[in-house]
């Protein structure tokens, strides 16, 4: 079947098998290998991407279901060469080791901060509780998300960072960067 999917702002037309999973569409068809496949059963979250602004586990979404819709992957987090504060937070706080879960974790973290700019550690843990990291014990992932939250709060309060943060992901960011 023929599908049209907009990924990270670019429109892609492909002829695909109806059974093709979104994760394989992204990785094998579009060569966007930043999203990873980890478990088959929607447990690990290494494959989390956004489908119309909502995080989904792309190992359990058919590519056909993304027809006509917007997908954002880790490759779309940075804009104009500028890293997203979440990406910076993960590097600053050692929120990753092997890096395999990291793209999915960052996509969920970005989604969380867009809705809740100042999440507590408990709220962060709940937000990523559908995803597995085998390296960090989650401690530094929580710190990384908090780092990004505080960084963005400073930017909002005019702490010399205003304008540095690009308006990244459509309408939701209006809530964050006001």
């Amino acid at each position: 079947m023929r599908i049209t999917v907009t990924v990270n702002g670019s429109e892609h037309h492909r002829e695909v098998e109806p059974r093709l999973l979104l994760i394989h569409f992204l990785r094998d068809e579009l060569r966007l290998t930043g999203s990873h496949w980890g478990c088959d059963t929607s447990n690990c979250g290494a494959c989390v991407v956004w489908l119309d602004e909502t995080p989904v586990k792309s190992c359990t979404v058919l590519a056909a279901m993304a027809d006509g819709r917007q997908v954002v992957t880790v490759e779309g987090l940075a804009r104009g060469g500028e890293l997203d504060p979440v990406q910076r937070g993960f590097a600053q706080c050692h929120g990753l080791q092997c890096g395999f879960c990291t793209p999915g974790m960052m996509m969920t973290a970005r989604w969380l901060l867009n809705r809740n700019p100042d999440p507590t550690p408990v709220e962060i843990r709940e937000a990523i509780s559908g995803q597995i990291c085998r390296c960090t014990g989650y401690e530094n992932i929580v710190r990384a998300v908090r780092w990004a939250s505080e960084y963005e709060a400073q930017a909002r309060s005019g702490g010399g960072l205003q304008g540095v943060l690009p308006n990244q992901h459509g309408d939701d960011d209006a809530e964050v960067i006001t």
Partner: protein
């Protein structure tokens, strides 16, 4: 001083690509014309293969080849050596010996077609009775798992002992107090988030084989591929790109790797094989599966005198433990722990069962995990018997600083330590006395709060080649350090990161020695064509062995630089001292040259003394004189719901001493990981089988791993007791928390349930398991109830 600045917390070089989604993991690699492999696996735990018919699969329009055991047998590749001097079936020819065993390999044009074609391979099995419970494996009349081994009539792999039986029994027979405990360290699986995989490609002109694979030991794999396939070793290149976690799971060579290599040779095209999660959990190296009986002897006033243990070790269908060959039970005989004992004795029997092979595969420091769990549970059982506080009992018996170097009753020589300091610090961070007061108040209210301790000593950094080898390969590691004319450097190392941050830490090691910035040093690893030989990253050996090699190579560079600096400054080399990252003239600190200036001079027309070659490059091979012995004190606070059996880990305090910390940020990250392992293994993780040998832990829905919700925020502390024999005083830390933490969690839960009369409960302490223990009817959580 620049050099002093090279150690310390520092963001990682690796992160720049990984946070952008631009890492290169094995499944990210695509080669022109690449085919995809998939493995047909046995649905049965034990069965004779009557026939395999691949006709329909071969007729599939997108299938390029189907390989069976018979095809491999014709090439002499149906069986391969394991890392424990056994053999393992690559594709089954005679019978299948565990559920999930490899039976056929399908090669197709895409990964979906390869999976489709698996269903077209028809295999007729004749089921055989399986051996599932290790405790019955040695029964007379038990089915023989390994009838492929000539003359094999039973399921015994080895009987092995350590320590002095007579001396130990004598201490036990005269001791005031002897207590014992049966305990199971259940089978678990390391489950790195990236499963195992490979891309194999042969060059049609040179015949060179290149494999990109998920390996923690690229050089050892190259040698093994040469031995197994008969290819010349210089015609094999093993590349280990970004690896999504290893934890020991990626040390062995798996049948799928060899199948992909053979498929690449047969088809003349690159072949990718990446296993799915169920394949990873059901067929690759498991961990633990130790059935232990431990006893501890003490005086009435709490002086621990001796320990002894009997262990039944379930190794699965093939003895494929990845460990130094001369130690069939790994380093289990360090089970004397951190205490000053008179005697110790252990006996370990290894058995075959109809389960996946493995055993040493999960951050266990070659079975020290099991040893620490045994002795730390015994100490708690003893404390209960004596009516002593478990912290007091430990403090009373810990080795004292002045006893180091200390030789334990089974022969390990601990290099350095200050154990009471670590335990005191952990108790201080925890507020131990206050916790005990709170516990008393809660108990009075009928609430179940537990405080569990563990103290561990590991031996890591295998190892001295005179004592340790894997399949005859000594466990030394090389380092090549090249200094470019402008003073930038490239360090080639034999070990390979799976998230440990080698590219950063090893740059810091060299920078520290040479007065350079870590930013000016590129670390090359994971490619056998570009790096020196060494046995790889596992057993917490990277910093103790390869890190030492890097430091030694850097010191050789420094000494070469001294000669050049002397020529530059027109003084004798003896008149130079290394200070503040430069060679400078004694008494004239203005006269100094740094490595960058010296490097340019070393490549220039500067006249050097006769016999001096120029340039600064150096290499080193480090053969460690001993293991290093990191240690730590852990305290876990839990709350247990006696109605549901649910355990909540409220706090976890960990004080670790791994000697000198090169990058404390990375050290702490590794500790966080291991502490999460402790929570997971103690409370959730077990690979369980039913009576027919069906694996009941074959997906992440059944094999539960801790998420952010189960893990507490970890509270870390540190002490630093340098290793006296390591060039930079470092000890290795990658497995410390995995080794030390499960006992603290279990001790905490048992402590919580003490008022209910619970003396022991086996991992994993799931709500059901805890609830059963509360009812006085503990269950064997490693097997399904029959």
């Amino acid at each position: 001083m620049i050099a002093a600045g090279a150690y310390g917390p520092r963001p990682r070089k690796e992160d720049a690509r990984l946070i952008r989604g631009l890492g290169t993991f094995v499944d990210d690699i695509t080669r022109p014309g690449m085919l995809h492999g998939a493995i047909l696996r046995s649905p049965l735990a034990h069965a004779r293969i009557v026939s395999i018919d691949a006709t329909a699969a071969r007729a599939h329009p997108r299938v390029e080849a189907v390989i069976t055991g018979q095809d491999l047998a014709e090439r002499g590749l149906a069986w391969m050596p394991t890392l424990s001097a056994d053999v393992q079936s690559v594709l089954a020819t005679d019978k299948v010996r565990f559920q999930g065993q490899e039976v056929a390999f399908v090669v197709a044009q895409d990964r979906y077609a390869a999976r489709d074609a698996l269903e077209l391979v028809v295999v007729e099995y004749e089921p055989l009775p399986p051996v599932i419970d290790a405790r019955t494996a040695l029964d007379s009349g038990a089915p023989v798992v390994r009838d492929d081994l000539t003359g094999k009539q039973d399921n015994r792999i080895f009987d092995w002992t350590a320590g002095d039986k007579g001396a130990t029994d004598a201490v036990f027979s005269s001791a005031d107090v002897v207590v014992g405990c049966d305990m199971v360290y259940p089978r678990s699986h390391p489950a790195p988030l990236e499963t195992c995989g490979i891309v194999a490609e042969t060059d049609p002109v040179s015949g060179k084989l290149t494999v990109w694979s998920t390996t923690q030991a690229p050089h050892a794999h190259r040698t093994l591929y040469a031995i197994v396939t008969g290819l010349a070793e210089h015609k094999i290149r093993v590349v280990s790109p970004d690896i999504g976690g290893g934890f020991g799971n990626k040390v062995p060579i798996y049948p799928g790797y060899l199948c992909a290599v053979v498929a690449a040779m047969i088809t003349g095209r690159p072949v990718k094989w990446v296993e799915d999660r169920s394949e990873n959990l059901m067929s690759t190296a498991f961990a633990r599966d130790y059935h232990m009986h431990g006893e501890i002897a003490a005086s009435a006033d709490g002086k621990i005198l001796a320990v002894r243990a009997r262990v039944l070790a379930d190794h699965g269908a093939f003895n494929a433990t990845a460990q130094p060959s001369r130690f069939p039970a790994g380093f289990f005989h360090i089970f004397t722990g951190s205490y000053d004992l008179q005697a110790a004795f252990c006996e370990v029997t290894g058995v075959y069962t109809n389960k996946a092979p493995g055993g040493v595969a999960y951050s266990c420091s070659f079975r020290i995990t099991e040893a620490v769990y045994l002795v730390e549970r015994l100490v708690d059982v003893l404390a209960r018997e004596l009516g002593m506080d478990p912290a007091d009992l430990r403090m009373r018996n810990l080795l004292r600083p002045e006893q180091f170097p200390y030789t334990c009753p089974t022969g390990w020589q601990y290099d350095s330590g200050d154990y009471p300091r670590a335990l005191s610090l952990a108790m201080e961070i925890a507020g131990y006395d206050e916790l005990r007061r709170e516990q008393a108040q809660r108990r009075a209210r009928g609430e179940y709060m537990g405080i569990g301790l563990s103290f561990f000593t590991e031996g890591v950094g295998a190892g001295p080649s005179g004592h340790m080898d894997i399949l005859g390969l000594g466990m030394a590691d090389g380092a090549d350090l090249r200094i470019h004319p402008t003073g930038k450097a490239v360090l080639g190392i034999s070990v390979q990161t799976q998230g440990q941050g080698h590219e950063t830490t090893f740059a810091q090691i060299v920078a520290h020695e040479l007065g350079l910035s870590p930013d000016d040093i590129e670390v090359v690893h994971g490619d056998t064509d570009r790096t020196p030989f060494g046995l790889g990253t596992y057993g917490s050996r990277s910093t103790p062995v390869s890190g030492a090699a890097a430091a030694v190579a850097a010191r050789k560079v420094r000494e070469r630089a001294r000669i050049v600096a002397a020529a530059m400054l027109e003084v004798s080399a003896d008149d130079l001292e290394w200070a503040e990252g430069k060679w400078r003239v004694r008494g004239d600190p203005e006269q100094a040259r740094g490595i960058a200036e010296i490097a340019m001079a070393a490549h220039s027309s500067l006249e050097l003394p006769a016999g001096v070659e120029g340039h600064l490059d150096a290499s080193a091979v480090y053969n460690p004189p001993n293991l290093t012995f990191p240690f730590g004190a852990y305290i876990c606070v839990t709350d247990v719901d006696s109605g549901t059996g649910e355990v909540r880990v409220r706090r976890f305090i960990a004080v670790d001493d791994c000697g000198v910390r090169i990058n404390p940020m990375i050290v702490e990250g590794q500790l966080h990981r291991g502490l999460a392992d402790g929570v997971g293994m103690a409370l959730m993780q077990a690979i369980v089988f039913d009576e027919a040998g069906n694996c009941l832990g074959g997906s992440f829905m059944d094999y539960l791993l801790p998420t952010a919700v189960e893990c507490p925020s970890f509270e870390l502390g540190s002490t630093v007791t340098p290793s006296p024999h390591h060039p930079i005083g470092a000890k290795g830390v990658g497995e410390s928390a995995t080794v030390g933490s499960p006992a603290a969690v279990v001790n905490s839960v048992v402590d919580a349930l003490a008022p209910l009369g619970v003396r022991h409960a086996d991992m994993p302490l799931t709500p059901a398991s805890v609830w059963r223990a509360i009812q006085g009817n503990p269950m064997r959580s490693d097997l399904t109830p029959s």
